[in-house]
Amino acid sequence: MSSVAQSRWTDGSMHKRLAARYAAERRFRAFGFAAVAISVAFLAFLLITMLAKGMGGLDLAFLTGSDSTDPVRAGVWGALKGSFLTIIVTMALAFPIGVLAALYLEEFAPRNRWTDLIEVSINNLAAVPSIIFGLLGLAVFLNFMHLPRSAPLVGGLTLALMTMPVIVIAGRNAVQSVPPSIRDAALGVGASRMQVVFHHVLPLALPGVLTGTIIGMARALGETAPLLMIGMRAFIVAPPQGVTDPSSVLPVQIFLWSDEVDGAFVEKTSAAIIVLLVFMLAMNGLAIFLRNKFERRW
């Protein structure tokens, strides 16, 4: 420690060192604040730009119309309906499968190689690029199983494979946070292990599972790349009537309009982005609300 110069309180050098250290402290803190501020400012910049460019195009005709080559008549309803149908398919598949897998891994799985393999696949799948799921959907659902192209059914299947790991991870955390005493008490009065899990653990873990599911669904709602792969980029005028009709979805519609040369589509694109963001914010808000209202610290 002799390399550090000796400072004394008497000649003022110690005060100087202290001042320098406090200045460094303030600089560090300011840098940290700046980092957060830049992120927030960017978000604000993005939102304001979209609002400024898109608000003018946001009217009832836009919300109820369908895609058109004429920017004046182009609307967002067909794509919105496609998005809803896709998300319903995704949720109907990913939610039960994700919850069941989470329950199995947390409550029943023996610790062995198979369980490790399942765990590694789930953790890895949660980080696999979404476009890879699109390639999977194209190869398996379209080319192998010959399901209809551009249909919400195929989009929902593909997105379900993508969101399932997210739900499993959230579900496992929620199941983990249910205290063991609940299980012990139920077992103590004679419940079977299945009854313990389905009558006691699952209801208590459900708010956490739902929060994770909603966040996963919000991500699926905003996903574009895998749906491009399975052909949901076709120009479709009629809103889909069922899950096997060809359809577009909102993010893909945004992507398609952003490619249009006609300058009037800038307003349409921005307005569609506002609609998408409103849905995303509503879903995320619901998730945060659920978390705050039902989350219990045991």
Partner: protein
């Protein structure tokens, strides 16, 4: 009868069997005897035995029927008359299928119109057979389940075994998905590598996948050297985006966990989460509409005449900002995992807060932060929409951030969204690129997950 009618019938029979079992179990109880299992378990047991085998059969029959129908149509006189050339025959068959299903009014090939009624009839025959078998299976299952009912019948145990199978099955879907990804990518990639040399693909430096319509056209072979694509991907995702995301994300996490008062934190954290929740197509549009022109003007202003409006810098900047919340939350987790005692020890020795963070907390949290950064890199190089909309298509090998580069994901989208035959090297190249991308992200993810897990264990 279509298969969906059979599906509904199976479900109805299942419901009926369940109801029947329920009332019968209640009847047994009404006779004054004590049941081994509650009536509701009898009901579930009967419903499961009725519906599950039949549903399983339908799930297996669906793809099988497809192949059988194709075969039967080709064997019919109308099918025999089709041209021998496999690709053309398949195209006609596909069109006939779509006409038969009512998906399109007419095909490009005139033969398909004549084939459609044949197709429709064959398909009706096959679905009738499949549906009938499914209903028979359901009825047999219902009969079997109802016969087993009795006072001592352990319906609950049986149901719980079924549920266990369901639970294991649900967990296996993750493995099946991984397997499906690997197999489908490998299968198409092998086809691609039978047409294009592996060495040329991995180490070639020219990428121009345009295959010509006529064989004698200039540049008809197309060049599939993937090096420029991977350079572009790394340049945008692993270099520019990380230069933005690592310091900002790390400092945000430090500020939020160490400095911000809890009320400020309660506001700022959800805002960062919103930043993470914005769809990538929105970032992409914003990058192309606003950021890219600004970056180009900046480039021109500082005297770089080659500044492109599809610069690597614009895409990388926006991608970096998109990644900030991700890095921040990973860093947050690993900073929170550092034991409070270490922090207290450092503060007690007289270190300021920033000194404690820089010299004690960060070194202790470093493995976790590195793991998080690796995951962030894996996410950035797999990110698609931002680069599709804001980065270019020109495969340049350049280190000038104001020039345009292209990425793996951009090219996959580009290759697969045109109107090509599925077997052309162009579409197959997309799968080969996907395979490489999958392998790279897999390695990054595995390393990162291992690092994070090991690090967590170290302090537990």
């Amino acid at each position: 009868m279509t298969l969906s009618t059979a599906l509904i019938a199976v479900l109805l029979i299942g419901g009926a069997a369940g109801y029947l079992a329920f009332t019968r179990a209640k009847g047994l109880r009404g006779a004054g005897q004590r049941l081994n299992s509650l009536p509701v378990y009898h009901a579930i047991h009967a419903a499961l035995w009725t519906a599950l085998p039949a549903l399983l059969f339908l799930a297996l029959w669906l793809p099988l029927q497809h192949a059988l129908v194709d075969q039967a149509v080709l064997a019919s006189p109308a099918g025999q008359a089709l041209p021998d050339f496999a690709m053309q025959r398949d195209a006609i068959l596909g069109e006939a299928r779509e006409i038969a299903l009512g998906l399109r009014p007419a095909g490009f090939n005139p033969e398909s119109a004549g084939l459609a009624p044949v197709y429709q009839a064959t398909m009706a025959r096959h679905s009738l057979a499949g549906g009938a078998v499914a209903i028979l299976v359901a009825l047999f299952g219902a009969f079997f389940a109802l016969r087993r009912q009795g006072v001592d019948f352990r319906a609950r145990l049986s149901v719980e075994r079924w549920v266990m199978v369901l639970l294991v099955g649900a967990s296996l879907i993750a493995i099946l998905t991984t397997l499906g990804i690997v197999l489908s990518l490998l299968f198409e990639s092998v086809l691609f590598f039978s047409k294009v040399n592996v060495g040329e693909f991995l180490f070639g430096t020219t990428w121009s996948p345009q295959t010509a319509i006529r064989a004698d056209q200039a540049g008809s072979s197309g060049a599939f050297g993937s090096v420029p694509l991977f350079w572009g991907t790394i340049f945008i995702g692993a270099i520019i985006a990380m230069i933005v995301a690592i310091p900002l994300g790390l400092m945000s996490a430090i500020f939020l966990t160490q400095y911000a008062p809890s009320r400020v934190r309660a506001w700022l954290k959800p805002i960062l989460e919103i930043l993470a929740g914005v769809p990538t197509v929105v970032y992409g549009y914003f990058a192309a509409l606003t950021v890219a022109p600004m970056v180009r003007d900046l480039g021109l202003a500082i005297g770089i005449s080659s500044a492109s409006s599809e610069s690597a810098l614009a895409a990388g900047l926006v991608m970096g900002i998109m990644i900030i919340p991700f890095v921040s939350s990973m860093a947050d987790d690993s900073i929170a995992a550092v034991p409070q005692a270490m922090r207290d020890g450092s503060l007690a020795l007289g270190a300021t807060r920033s000194e404690t963070i820089k010299k004690v907390v960060l070194p202790a949290a470093l493995p976790g932060v590195v793991g998080g950064v690796l995951l962030a890199v894996s996410r950035a190089i797999g990110e698609t929409m931002i680069v599709v909309m804001a980065a270019g298509l020109a495969a340049n090998l350049t280190i000038n951030p104001f020039e345009s580069v292209t990425t793996v994901t951009t090219q996959i989208v580009q290759l697969l969204t045109g109107d090509q035959e599925f077997d052309s090297p162009k579409t197959l190249a997309a799968f080969a690129l996907g395979l490489l991308l999958f392998i790279i992200t897999l390695i990054l993810n595995l390393i990162a997950l291992r690092v994070v897990r090991k690090y967590r264990e170290a302090y537990e």
